[in-house]
Amino acid sequence: MTATRQPIATGSDWNFRVLEQFDEELARLADEYRLDTYPNQIEVITTEQMMDAYASVGMPVGYHHWSFGKQFLAVEQAYKRGQMGLAYELVINSNPCIAYLMEENTLMMQVLVMAHACYGHNSFFKGNYLFRTWTDAESIIDYLVFARHYIARCEERHGVQAVEQLLDACHALQNYGVDRYKRPSPISAEEEAKRQEEREAYLQTQVNLLWRTIPDSPEDGEQLPGSLSAQTDDPLGLHSGGRYPPEPQENLLYFIEKNAPLLAPWQREVVRIVRKLAQYFYPQRQTQVMNEGWACFWHYTLMNRLYDDGHVDEGLMLEFLQSHSAVIQQPAFDSPYYNGINPYALGFAIFIDIKRICEAPTDEDRQWFPDIAGSSWRDTLEFAMRNFKDESFIQQFLSPKVIRDHKLFLVVDDDQEEMLEVAAIHNEQGYRKVREALATQYALSVREPNIQVVEAAIRGDRSLTLHHVQDSRRPLARSVYPVIRHLQKLWGFPVHLISMEEGRVTRRYRWPVEETTQDEE
């Protein structure tokens, strides 16, 4: 610690000059710690603008939809009632990385958000494999602009209501708009716009090919010229017999976009837009704990360095510590404030513990983490940040110490048993079970029902059949009905959804509901 403390600024007021100085300092430290980031674009905004940003799920440019209005009203209400401190951070995975600072934040808050978002999240966006694979920070803003304009144009042409209904349906399925195992092609606005018309025509020929025995949809006036006649004109082998699709499809929106018989070209494009945006948010849904943990680790580290180097005074530091401990607080399960596991708390605890294991390993650590005990903490952290998602990150790095600190325990809730059973607690026998279970809890495949398209009856009644692969007898929530209704609207013909567990059919859903389904059950 330096003897002479020369704070860049004191008190709670800030101005751009001061923020720039702090940013310079943070950038220097980030460089020292080898944090690789996109350039930062820091935007100072008002409270209301922040609520706008919140409401559009962090998209700086969004298309219009009532659900964002609902979101805005909810945020506004919560904020006005004082239930919610706004905007600890809002940062957008783009290049340059856009972060918002709210004008009424104190100086400490601005510096904290800069450290957290502009260096923490920013480096995570740039480094983590999921983001590298699934998102294209370069083009997202352009794509959002494209999407907004495209949807606005559709509203002009086809009416707000038609577009709204379509978006409702797509939103209901947006969590099923991702190929989990295939690397997607990056999205590019320019290309999208250029090729979009071309694609409309092409897509439609593909669909026409697939469905060529069916008549045109009555409401779809846009009939494409050029009838497809020759049997040889079947590059996809769609008509060589067998079921279609040959493999189950987990990307429902993609399947709809490419195969739904009655959608007009513009509708396919809207489906595609929702799908592409879902894909953009896909990594964020899988890296909550890591992403927040990483950002918290770095704001904590950087703020402490600022203090050690004498750039901030004690007052600011105390304010910071208070704010920081509020963020990483984890209420116990029986606390009235309990609202599930706090990803900030868990992530921060794990990253801090990795550092501890590297720097001062105990015997237990050596036994549990032989690879990283005593290694360079910076390299290990970087490795962890780059190559994992929540599920695997917890599986790999949740240490007995963190389990003990949080007093994690595992409860089995089986509706066939009268009582809940405590299956594991924070002891030698329980660590692995707790860790395994917690990791599973963050697996998307467990959090969300596994639903796939298994058959489109292209030669029969054109109905669509999906399978829900049930696990541990967990049924679908009642929301399944409105969702398959939406799905049916997109598909245009009856939709069947069959819940199966271990090869046995447990439940059938169908839309539209008909009397005949009663007989089947």
Partner: protein, 429 residues
């Protein structure tokens, strides 16, 4: 590299479109809330926003989710006394919750049943008047009263010191000074030129007497210039006030309602809407609107709003008691010269048989000549009785000031209200 951008000057209300779309989509729900609010609120309390709740299930955005049931494993923090193998009673309520399972789907918090938000004042009124264009009445058709208001009307030479117009007074003074000094200055210039000419002469030729004379003249002229007053009483200008007849900006609205046994709460709610509409309407036209509530059965009484709408009484009906009371109140508190007087009466048409013609006479002889407007609504699905018939005579006598309509259910109010005022407008033209 870091760029700072100040986005604060950017447009606000980025979410306005989305907000409107939301309101549009849930019109039905919101309208119900607004109607409840209208019934609950005081008439004078309509012009503010309203908190609206919509059942969460009605506005949820469905996604595939796990429902309750089956077997699940839940990891929670904060174990205190549990050991492996302990059995715990299932927490009351559904086993669901517990933090796990819930995907990114419902982001409005911990399963609240109601989605609550606040409508702005404009949005609220829009819903109140949904389906009704507020009649675009101008001030004109409402007969204006002569009230004197003093307005500035140019300048005058006399007035009180507090109304002095300084700039104008100074300008006058400046002009006067220029005018008064000009001839003196001219004479002074001549005298000076003469003096100079005299002094330029050869000393031998000089006339000392003339020089002394000229010097004295110059001095005298200089004194005269100095003597011109900087400001004089003549310069003063005063702002003048003129008396201008002004339409009265205050109105009083009498709400007269029958509260005899035959009027149900439903009748009263309908009446309340009607009074509300009239009130909002008057409020748009007058700076100040006072409300007087008069309820009556066999006897009339002036009451507060709460009592007016929500306390019950039984008994027969004598309408004239209310009209007499209104007349008395006007005499005592609201001289027609200063107030625009409006009466809105709601009743189910019942009246004591011998009383209806008394009402008619009261109206024709005493009340109507003083009133701007009298609106009568009869809330009944049944046939008209004697009161209606007598009122028809009044309407015939005062076609422009007296309006009557029948209302059967709440939905009729807006059209009737519109009708009442539209008719008036077209007749005025």
């Amino acid at each position: 590299m870091t760029y700072f951008i100040d986005r604060r000057p950017n447009a606000k209300h980025k979410s306005a479109v989305n907000r409107q779309r939301f309101l549009e989509r849930y019109r039905k729900h919101i309208k119900r809330s607004v109607e409840e609010a209208v019934n609950r609120r005081s008439i004078t309390d309509m012009e503010r926003g309203e908190k609206v709740s919509i059942p969460t299930k009605d506005i949820s955005e469905p996604v595939f989710q796990h429902g309750p049931g089956g077997a699940r494993e839940i990891v929670s923090p904060g174990n205190k006394e549990f050991l492996t193998g302990d059995k715990i009673r299932r927490p009351s309520g559904q086993g669901g919750g517990d933090g796990a399972g819930d995907g990114g789907a419902s982001n409005q918090g911990e399963g609240t049943d109601e989605f609550a938000f606040t409508l702005s004042r404009e949005e609220f009124l829009e819903f109140v008047f949904d389906g009704l264009e507020l009649p675009h009445l101008q001030r004109k058709p409402l007969k204006s009263l002569q009230e004197i208001k003093m307005v500035r009307a140019g300048l005058a030479r006399d007035g009180v010191p507090s109304r002095i117009s300084i700039t104008r007074s100074m300008r006058e003074a400046y002009a006067r000074r220029i005018a008064m000094r000009a001839p003196i200055k001219r004479a002074l210039k001549e005298a000076q030129q003469a003096l100079e000419a005299e002094e330029r002469k050869d000393p031998v030729l000089r006339n000392p007497a003339r020089i002394t004379e000229l010097k004295a003249e110059i001095e005298r002229l200089n004194k005269r210039i100095e003597a011109v007053p900087f400001i004089d009483t003549y310069d003063l200008r005063y702002h003048q006030l003129a008396a201008q007849p002004q339409p009265s900006s205050q109105a009083v609205m009498f709400c007269v309602m029958d509260v005899s046994g035959s009027m149900t709460q439903n009748h009263k709610d309908i009446a309340k809407r009607f009074f509300l509409l009239l009130y909002l309407f008057l409020e748009k036209h007058y700076e100040k609107v006072e409300l007087v509530f008069v309820r009556h059965h066999t006897a009339a009484r002036e009451v507060g709003e709460e009592e007016f709408f929500y306390s019950r009484e039984t008994g027969g009906t004598i309408v004239s008691s209310a009209l007499t009371l209104v007349n008395g109140i006007i005499e005592k508190r609201y001289p027609p010269a200063q107030w625009n007087l409006y009466v809105a009466q709601a009743s189910d048409g019942d009246n004591w048989d011998d009383d209806s013609n008394v009402c008619r006479d009261l109206l024709i002889k005493q009340l109507m000549p003083q009133l701007q407007y009298y609106a009568y609504v009869e809330i009944t699905p049944h046939d008209h009785q004697s009161l209606w018939e007598e009122y028809e005579t009044v309407a015939a006598r005062f076609p422009e000031q007296f309006a009557m309509r029948q209302i059967v259910e709440a939905g009729d109010i807006y059209p009737v209200f519109r009708e009442l005022f539209k008719r008036r407008l077209s007749q005025q033209r």
